[in-house]
Amino acid sequence: MATSEIQHTALTLHDQLPILQVAIPLLAAPLCVLVGQRHAAWWIAFISSFAAFVISCLLLVQVTDGSYISYEIGGWAPPLGIEYRVDALNAFMLFLVSGIATLILPFASASIGQEVPERNHTLLYSCFLLCLTGLLGVLITGDAFNVFVFLEISSLSTYVLVAQGAYRDKRALTAAYDYLIMGTIGATFFVIGLGFLYMATGTLNMADIAARIAEQGDNRTVRAAFAFILVGMGLKVAIYPLHHWLPNAYTFAPSAITAFLAATATKVAIYVWLRFMFGVFRPDFLFDVYTLQFIILPFGLIAMFAASFVAIFQRDFKRMLAYSSIAQIGYMLLGIGLISATGLTATISHLFNHGITKAALFMGVGALVFYSGSSFYDRLEGRGRTMPWTSAAIVIGGLSLIGVPGTAGFVSKWVLVQAAFEKGWWPIAALIVASSLLAVIYVWRVIETLYLTAPAEGAARREAPLPMLIPLWIAALSCIYFGFDGVFVVDIARTAAEGLLTSPTPLPLLEGN
């Protein structure tokens, strides 16, 4: 038996950060079930997502200069082993997702108590953690198949979370079922695309795939892979013609879950798109450029207008926000379709800014629903007087949604308009402004309902409980903070965008062949 001493320098906690980012919520989820007590489960969920948030901050400060961190799972070197690869883009997204999760959990402790029966709380927090694990995993991994695995973890738990709304409204079940069918089709298309990629390149490491595709050039297998991945993730992104699942899922899910999903799930799907369209398939290929310019960009424009029009005519606040999400996704697609560093900067900063804006707004709806029991406008009349703090936060979120100067929404729209001008496409810049005016209309309807109508007879002043108000105001104030200090977001977004557009450094292992 060979017993030679094998040299190994022990890894420090600092080296382990990338895996801890995913492993902590992953292991906390079964722990919730084993403990089986709902208060303990909440604490486990909160502590682990807070830990994930701290880790994401530690990772983010390391990569803001454009470098990347690589972690080999199980000690197997990439491209054979699974690699976790943290760069400016996904560190920034990790920061957003884990931050939103930490913010939503205190809110959830109050709102879920009212919307979901107590016996389900433990499992709900466990599912929440699994969803968080999946989203963080999709972001951090550098392995294409691993993306699919984590995507499924997050999707499956999302369906369960959406279905939890069934105790208030049975339609949550059909909404979850619709989402399940559409999401599964999307995931299947995505994995078929990965199959084609594997066939064409013989590897699953994303950086490695990119290098191999660059080597062999354009061919039909690669194109098929591109098409499948585009459509599959498109379903998850809810790009305009594939958005059918989104309004119902957002409307009928419990408030806290809607706030979490709206701020993170579609954003992560857009991240995967960015990663594949710019990191794996290079925009050097004509098919990539043509798809982005002639398919993604027009669909983005249609979404901006069609979904905004539909949002204007909604009678339900939550549903209106869901349609406005589809419209806002249109802006992000527009940034992608411009295929320039500025366009991508706009997309990435809008991912973040829209994330916090929608988190604030959906938490606001949740706080309103806490007492009125419904999010229909006619049940919310005069809430500005009975719930002044909640309503004020909603107004701030609404202004950020429109893109009023001084709010986060303005910063990213400004960059987007700049990107359009950079290309000389001024009609597009005009369209961005025009669709923002539509947002004014639907946000105004909310303000009118909250402030300019008389409250119901005998409605006393009754503010939402503090565990809901504090996260709501943190989100609302960060909308303002990032509106005045847009440099932080835009700088990271620019580093991330430039990282996507420059050719990846080939893996050291490949230099030999």
């Binding site: 017993t3 492993a23 199980g74």
Partner: protein
């Protein structure tokens, strides 16, 4: 009660054999086809067939639903816990070589055994939980509930 005498006797005989075979598949997984997933399914089948023949109440007495849910969670923890142990020893997550630093190959065997045990526990739990969920389905919803 006296119906299906042959079925009852055969199932009683088979259940123990199935469990034994599941354990064989589990522990022989790293040398021959098999492993945690297959073993978990075979193990679950032993409980499911017992439930089909003797009724849900009997099998609930052996393996109550709450215990099944804990098993599902426990398996994941065993899998992830293995990775945590590797990390505590100063290696990467799931680098089994850390278990016997002088001879990483042995560590790989130990690691696979631990991880497959986790897979087996979870798969058993999930399969039985699915069976329980279908078999214990409450009657259709009443009209008032809609």
């Amino acid at each position: 009660m006296r119906h299906h005498l042959i079925l009852r006797v055969i199932v009683k005989l088979l259940v123990s054999t199935m469990i034994l075979y599941a354990l064989y598949v589990q522990f022989h997984g790293d040398y021959s086809p098999g492993g945690g997933f297959q073993a978990g399914v075979i193990m679950a089948v032993a409980f499911i067939i017992y439930g089909i023949v003797f009724g849900l109440r009997k099998v609930h007495a052996v393996l109550p639903p709450w215990l099944v849910h804990k098993l599902v969670a426990l398996g994941v923890l065993v899998y992830g816990g293995t990775g945590v142990v590797n990390m505590l020893q100063g290696y990467e997550f799931l680098n089994y070589g850390s278990l016997t630093p002088h001879h990483p190959e042995h560590g790989q065997h130990w690691g696979i055994l631990a991880v497959e045990a986790g897979v087996g526990i979870t798969v058993t739990g999930v399969m039985i939980a699915i069976y329980y969920a279908f078999a214990a389905r409450p009657p259709r919803m009443s009209d008032e509930e809609w």
